[in-house]
Symmetry: C2
Subunit: 340 residues, 2 copies
DNA sequence: GATCATCCTGCACACGTGTGCAAGGCGGAG
DNA sequence: CTCCGCCTTGCACACGTGTGCAGGATGATC
C-alpha cells in the first residue's frame, strides 16, 4: 500500500502526531523538524489519504453532480464549468448520470450520501421529488441548474438562464429585421422554460404594438423531430410567418433541416432563431442565430453558490437568474459569421 | 451529522459490531437481531459512510477519469459509457479535466492518488509522460483510451478504435460509389491516429488497384478551420478529386461548409466522409457519412478492463482495438438518412 | 447433572489522519 | 540553585466501519 504518516514517523523517529503537524505547517512544531519531515515525506512519495482526512474533519472536499446524461452538449459544458471551478477551490467532482431512469436517480443520490459529498449540484432537467426529500434530510446544500426550488426548501438554491429575457431578445431581434409575423415553436408542454421563453416572445410582440396570435404558436417536443414536424403546420398558416423563434436549438435545427428539404430558403423566406447555443449552432449551414446560455458561467456560479452555502450560515437568495446573450448568425439573416 | 452504526447500536441496545454484521448479512448473526436491526437502520435513515468503509477495506469503489475537456462531445460520450458501466458495478466516478494544462493534469492525478481511486481511466489525447511515472508508482491500474502505452508499463492497458480498419472502410465505401480520385484531408501531423487512418486509406486504394498519389493528401489540423482551408488546395488539383476522406468529422464539417460557400455541391460534385460520428454529423445538412467510433462501448470496455486488472492478477493483453462502423449518410451520396 | 458443541455477541484492534492535553526539556530570571 | 514559563513532543482519543478472537448462553447428549 501507499505510505502513511506512520511510515514517515517511523522513518523520522518521531510520533505520527509530529508528522501530521509538520505537514500541516502547524506553529506547534520546530522549524528544524518541519523541514526534515517535509523533505522526508516528499522523498518517500507521500500523498495524504483524503478518506481518512475527510473522516476526521467531517468534510470530504467533494461535490456531487447529478445529470441526466453527460452526452448532452449543454450538460457537458455546464459540467466543465463546475469541474474547473471546483478544482480551483480544491474540490473534486463525483459525476453521476441518471439516464432519466428514476431508479438510477435515487441510487445516484444514495451514492452521493454514502460518499458524504459536501454539496450536490443537479443539472438534470427533471427534478424528481423523489430525492429532493432525500437530499433535504441530509442537510446537504443543493444547487439546481435550470430548474426551480418549488417547495421552498432550505439550503436549496437554483440557477437558471433568464428565459423570459432571452425570449424577448430573440423576438426583438427578428422584429428589428422587419418581421411582423413570427411563429413560436414550443418545447414539451408544461415545462416552465418553455412558458417563460414564450412569455418573453409575447412581451416583445406586445411592446412592438403587435397582436398576439396563438395560431402561430406551434408545438414541438424539444428535439429535432419536433422542429421538423412543426414545419408542415407552419407552411399551412395563412399568411405564412416569415420568421420563427424556437424553444431551443435542436428544435431550430429540425425546422431548418425540414425547410431546406422543402426548398424553403433560410433565412430568405424563413428566418430562424434558436435557444441554447449548442456547439453545432455555429457549424451548421446556415449557421444558427440563437440565445447563448452562459453554460460555463452557470457551472461556475453553481459551485460558488454551493461553497457559499457551506461556509456561511447567512441566508442566500433562493434563485439566481443569468442573462443569455443574443448571437446573430446566418439563419436570421443578420450579419453572417462564418465557421470558426 | 448523519447516523452511524454506533447510533443504531445504542438505539438497539447492542454493540456496533453486531450492527455491522447485521447490515452485512453476516451468517454470524441471529435472524431475529438481523431483521430488527435492519428495520431500525432503515427507519433511522442510515446510509453507510463510504469513506470509513474504504479506509478499512482498502478499496474505495472509485474510478478516476482524466479528460482534457468534457465539453468535447467525443469525450462526453465515452465518459457516459464509463459512468454507466461503473455505476452498474457499484463504482463511482471522479471526474477531472485538465484543459490541456500540464500543471492541472499533474494536480488531477495527485488528487486521484489522494482519493485512493481504485483505477484510473485516461481519455485525454495527450498522455503526459508527466504523470505516467506518477501513476505507475502507485500501482493503480490505468486504462488509456485512444492513446498507447508506449513505455510498456505494467498494469497499463489501452483501448482504441481500429483506425486503419476505419480508414479502409471509408475509402472502400467511396470506391464502391465509383470514385477513383479520392483526397485525404489529414489531421495534425505526427499523430498516430492520423497516420493509421491514412494507412487504411492507402491500403484500400492499393487493393482496388489504384495508384497512391501523395498530391491528393492535403493537410488539415483536426478542426473545422483545417477542413475549410483544405478546400482551396483541393480545388487547385487537376484533375480535381471527386471525393474526400477526412481525418475526422470536424475537418469534414469545415470542408463541407467551405464547399457549399464555394457553390461546390456536396455530394454531387464532392463526396465527403468523416471519422468519429460526433452527434452533429447526423444533424447537419447534408448529413455526414462517417466512421462511427464505438464511444459508449469504449467507455464500457475501459471500465471492464480496469475491473479485470483489479480483480485478477492474470496478465491482460496490452491493447484492445475496437472496430468502427461505417455510417452512410447524405454527404457521400449513399442512401440518404434523414434527421431522426 | 455434567460435559461439550453450537450459536451468538462483545471486546479490542485496525485503517489514516487530526487535535486537546499533559509532560518533558530547556532557557532565563530571581 | 531553583523556579517558572515557553517551546516542543508524545499520548490518547476521535472519526465510522470491519473483523479475529474470546467468552457467554443455550441446547443436546451421555
Amino acid at each position: 500500500m501507499s505510505v502513511s504518516i506512520k511510515d514517515i514517523a517511523q522513518a523520522a523517529g518521531v510520533s505520527h502526531s509530529t508528522v501530521s503537524r509538520a505537514l500541516a505547517d502547524s506553529p506547534l512544531i520546530s522549524e528544524a523538524a518541519r523541514q526534515r519531515i517535509q523533505a522526508l515525506a516528499e522523498q518517500m512519495g507521500y500523498v495524504p489519504n483524503a478518506q481518512a482526512r475527510g473522516l476526521v474533519l467531517g468534510r470530504t472536499m467533494t461535490i456531487g453532480v447529478v445529470v441526466t446524461t453527460i452526452a448532452d452538449p449543454f450538460v457537458a459544458e455546464v459540467v466543465q464549468g463546475i469541474e474547473s471551478t471546483a478544482h480551483a477551490n480544491g474540490y473534486s467532482v463525483i459525476l453521476t448520470s441518471s439516464d432519466n431512469d428514476p431508479e438510477r436517480e435515487v441510487q445516484s443520490v444514495e451514492m452521493l450520501r454514502a460518499r458524504r459529498a459536501d454539496a450536490v449540484i443537479v443539472a438534470s432537467s427533471r427534478i424528481g421529488d423523489l430525492y429532493q426529500d432525500d437530499l433535504e434530510e441530509t442537510g446537504v446544500p443543493v444547487v439546481l441548474i435550470n430548474s426551480h426550488n418549488d417547495q421552498g426548501r432550505a439550503r436549496v438554491v437554483s440557477i437558471s438562464v433568464d428565459n423570459r429575457h432571452g425570449g424577448y431578445l430573440a423576438t426583438q431581434h427578428l422584429l428589428g429585421l422587419g418581421h411582423r409575423r413570427i411563429a413560436y415553436i414550443s418545447g414539451l408542454p408544461g415545462h416552465s422554460d418553455d412558458s417563460e421563453r414564450r412569455a418573453g416572445y409575447a412581451q416583445a410582440l406586445h411592446d412592438a404594438g403587435l397582436p398576439i396570435d396563438d395560431t402561430v404558436v406551434l408545438s414541438g417536443d424539444g428535439r429535432a423531430s419536433g422542429g421538423e414536424q412543426a414545419l408542415d403546420a407552419l407552411l399551412a398558416l395563412r399568411p405564412r410567418p416569415t420568421a420563427a423563434f424556437c424553444y431551443n436549438d435542436m428544435t431550430a435545427i429540425g425546422l431548418v433541416s425540414a425547410a431546406q428539404r422543402a426548398r424553403l430558403a433560410v433565412p430568405r423566406r424563413l428566418a430562424v432563431v434558436g435557444f441554447d447555443d449548442i456547439p453545432f449552432a455555429a457549424l451548421m449551414h446556415p449557421s444558427l442565430s440563437t440565445i447563448a446560455q452562459p453554460k460555463h458561467e452557470m457551472g461556475r456560479r453553481a459551485v460558488e453558490r454551493a461553497l457559499a452555502l457551506l461556509s456561511s450560515d447567512a441566508e442566500q437568495p433562493d434563485h439566481l437568474s443569468l442573462q443569455g446573450q443574443l448571437i446573430v448568425r446566418e439563419s436570421s439573416g443578420g450579419h453572417a459569421s462564418g465557421v470558426r
